[in-house]
Subunit: 516 residues, 2 copies
């Protein structure tokens, strides 16, 4: 362990926080329920056209599966396998996809942090996998375990984040053979939320599932009786699934654990330059892996992921939160509903700093997620530079905005009951009064409006007097205050010991191979 | 004239700009057509409930009209007038509102800049009326005519702005008696887009309409045969319309010129603390004035405006771009469609700096406008501090984002033609290739994706090497480059002389009274 903390059996942050004496006052834990009708740019003919094209890709062109075991499953399941290329007809695809649940829960070690994937639920995950960390004090630097732990703590702290994604920054100061052991120990002890595990080779996958089982306090059979953690695999676009991702996905499926399949289809680079074409390819790649997982274990909980964006055609650099990205996400939402699958997208941006550009791109990404009916928003807090930077300040800014989405979906905002219509209050106040002091206001004002922890709504003079701090500077103060007060959630001492012993043993055994 | 420029009969910016050798490469002039189905949080019963409540306000509580002429019109039109309070029954309201056109065009001196108000059209207006200007070099300062002219030039320059709103900053270095003369001369000569006139007393209104007529080159009758400019009036919430606004609105109506009626209903202050209640009050106040205008001249083109937001209940400060603001805008959109009226909203924010907060609040405002089917977005570029600052850098940032909305509504993004679906391109590239060099990409790449002028999509190293400029700093460079190259649109010398003579004469006469 890089960090061995004093034994404690409890912590203030284990449950819904109270609203006093903390770094910030935040909203309570709640997975927003998206009640808006989705934005649907495609008419039914458009949905049918994308479906038909995706089926033609699977039937005529095929997908490369660079994993012999996966090809064996697919062949046995009725696919046509030629070398590494697998073709499957649309009847088979639709039959297998229909086996996947439309909605499922993942239950972490603290059952109160259960998250539903599917339906109208919109859950948020911290940034995952950047190689670099950045903050205003230290600038951009290669990721390390200290930053990793900081960002895991922020993920636990913010009630608006529901899932602990992949490594919030890659801790390159820990050797790759044992990195997964230290990282999962930190995630499982510093948080009590749903955790993700990378599909990076059999040993890591088995280690991580076992650690999640130990943390849950459950026996093997009970643990595997329901989703407890999840993995996400990316296709190697175009039209290819690599060995380790497939291996991990199949291991998760065999244990009844959920798999998200997220093609990374950058239009103009690894996918067609047209957005519909990129969506077709993304859907085909995702469905191909989902068919595999339904053959491995019918009913495996899966999600379709979208990561369709475009490149800057001048430089080839990826762009995110663009108009094309928004439309691709909305179109993929229509396709996910067509197939009856829960959907994952991202809060992505290309900016190199936690500045205005970062937020206009992120807001495009988040609004597109809301409009597309996305169920799980990856990288919801902290992502910069197209995923190459985990930013402490962006993390805090994003959480401010995520809370606003949580509030946006509060039905109270559109209540049209007689009390909400307030005709009597208007009669009482009349044209010469104001509503500050009215009884209608007084009985509601403490909860009537969203209360930000980061947005500064004071007038210019008060703001300037207080240092004229911009949003990133205020966010800087906030993450420091949060880390200073952080308490980990409670964990039984015996479980903590068993986890630590597991990690120690696996380290003695040399960890996992690094030649994948 | 504070500024007397050399005579020139033409300028490069008079028409759609070409895409070379300019400060920026921008998209061509085009009013976006919003093809999305609106986001409708209210079910039909909710719309009916808000309508019924608004009608009860008009029938039972009444609205104060602080203008005797207006009350005379209303009495003659069938309303019940008691002192300054006017009550009107719902049958009368609906009969009069039905006289307003669902859609109309405003035709400025350059007919190519005609803008349709209504239908799916979504036009953008620059920031209007802040008392202060701000930029990164000079900080926040009281507005002056130099800043006014700068911001008018930016409004003309950016093709994504379609209408020249009120004063983009208040030029307090010009005496109030003649300010409207210099300001309108500047707006009419530095731009060729639709202009707005304030309803600030009879003399100003008459002067401004006459100046717009001179600029149009049309005779009185032809000028008044169609909408050529517009005004916006605000109610004095709660439940009150003031004298000068009503006077100006009636003058516009008598000449067939459009009037936007925009209550400023801050929930918890001048309106009920519940969002539905604030919307009820806003709708009632707006409809009351619209009824007046339809009595004055049946068929007067009008728009319903929404400016419903909430205050910070801790400080009383107004907040914008909040979750409550978004829902209020969406609900008002439903009501505007119910009444068959075009809708105006705003790109509002509360931030004191052109920072990340400014953009997350603005993006909430802009997305809510798109979701509500808003036809005219006021303050679309340059607004900060709840409308107290006109920011040069925010202006440029907003235009970047407005262009993205223009692109977002381009049907090409959701084209599902066989060529767009790109199955053949995928077959050609296969799992081992990439799409950069494919013929499908090569024939489309120059126009396939939105090309930003402000967003920086380079990787961190290239961006840092180039100075690590944040979005506001890059915006600062851009407005300077634009102002350095600005050329006014063409205007006939005789018209320019006539305008100047009019201004000189009215100044000799002492301008307008300042005791309104």
């Amino acid at each position: 362990m890089n960090e061995r903390r004093s034994r404690r059996s409890g912590g203030r942050s284990g449950n819904m926080r109270d609203q006093s004496a903390h770094a910030i006052q935040q909203m309570p834990w709640r997975v927003p329920l998206n009640t808006d009708h989705p934005t649907e740019p495609l008419r039914p003919e458009g949905v049918a056209a994308i479906h038909d094209a995706a089926m033609r890709v699977l039937e005529e062109i095929g997908i490369e599966f660079l994993n012999a075991e996966a090809r064996d499953y697919l062949r046995a399941g009725g696919c046509e396998v030629t070398g590494e290329t697998v073709r499957m007809d649309r009847a088979l695809v639709m039959e297998k996809v229909a086996l996947a649940p439309r909605q499922f829960d993942i239950i972490p070690r603290n059952p109160a942090r259960r998250v539903t994937m599917g339906g109208g639920h919109m859950a948020f995950v911290n940034v995952s996998s950047p190689p670099n960390a950045m903050d205003l004090d230290r600038g951009r630097r290669v990721g390390d375990f200290a930053s990793f732990q900081d960002l895991v703590k922020l993920t636990q702290y913010f009630n608006c984040l529901h899932v602990v994604g992949g490594y919030p920054v890659e801790p390159v100061d820990i050797h790759a053979s044992v990195r997964h052991l230290d990282c999962l120990f930190a995630k499982l002890t510093l948080t009590d939320k749903v955790v993700h595990a990378y599909s990076l080779g059999p040993e890591r996958v088995e280690d991580v599932i076992e650690m999640a089982r130990i943390a849950s306090g459950l026996g093997q059979a009970e643990f595997e009786s329901a989703p407890r953690l999840f993995t996400n695999i990316n296709s190697s676009s175009p039209l290819k699934h690599d060995w380790p991702m497939l291996d991990g996905a199949m291991r998760f499926a065999r244990r009844g654990q959920p798999v998200i399949v997220t093609p990374f289809t950058l239009a103009g680079a690894m996918a067609p330059v047209t957005m519909a074409g990129a969506v077709v390819q993304s859907v085909a790649e995702a469905l191909a892996a989902i068919v595999l997982l339904q053959i491995v274990r019918p009913g495996t909980p899966v999600m379709i992921g979208t990561f369709t964006s475009n490149v800057d055609m001048r430089s080839g650099a990826p762009a995110f939160g663009t108009p094309e990205y928004v439309r691709a996400t909305q179109m993929t939402g229509q396709m996910a509903r067509f197939y009856g699958l829960p959907l994952r997208a991202s809060n992505a941006c290309a900016s190199n700093a936690p500045d205005a550009q970062a937020m206009w791109e992120s807001m495009n990404s988040l609004w597109s997620a809301a409009q597309a009916g996305v169920n799980l928003v990856y990288h919801a807090a902290g992502w910069l530079e197209g995923g190459l930077i985990a930013s402490y300040e962006k993390f805090v800014m994003d959480c401010e905005v995520l809370q606003q989405f949580q509030r946006y979906f509060d039905p109270a905002l559109t209540d049209t009951s007689p009390e909400a219509l307030a005709v009597e209050a208007m009669a009482e106040v009349g044209p010469r009064g104001h509503f500050f002091g009215s009884s209608h206001t007084q009985s509601r004002y403490t909860t009537a409006f969203y209360a930000p922890f980061l947005s500064d709504w004071r007038n210019y003079e008060a703001w300037a007097e207080d240092g004229a701090l911009q949003a990133d500077q205020r966010a800087n103060r906030i993450w420091k205050a949060i880390l200073a007060e952080f308490d980990p959630p409670p964990m039984d001492d015996a479980i903590r010991d068993e986890l630590a012993d597991f990690v120690a043993r696996r380290k003695r055994e040399g960890g996992a191979p690094t030649d994948f």
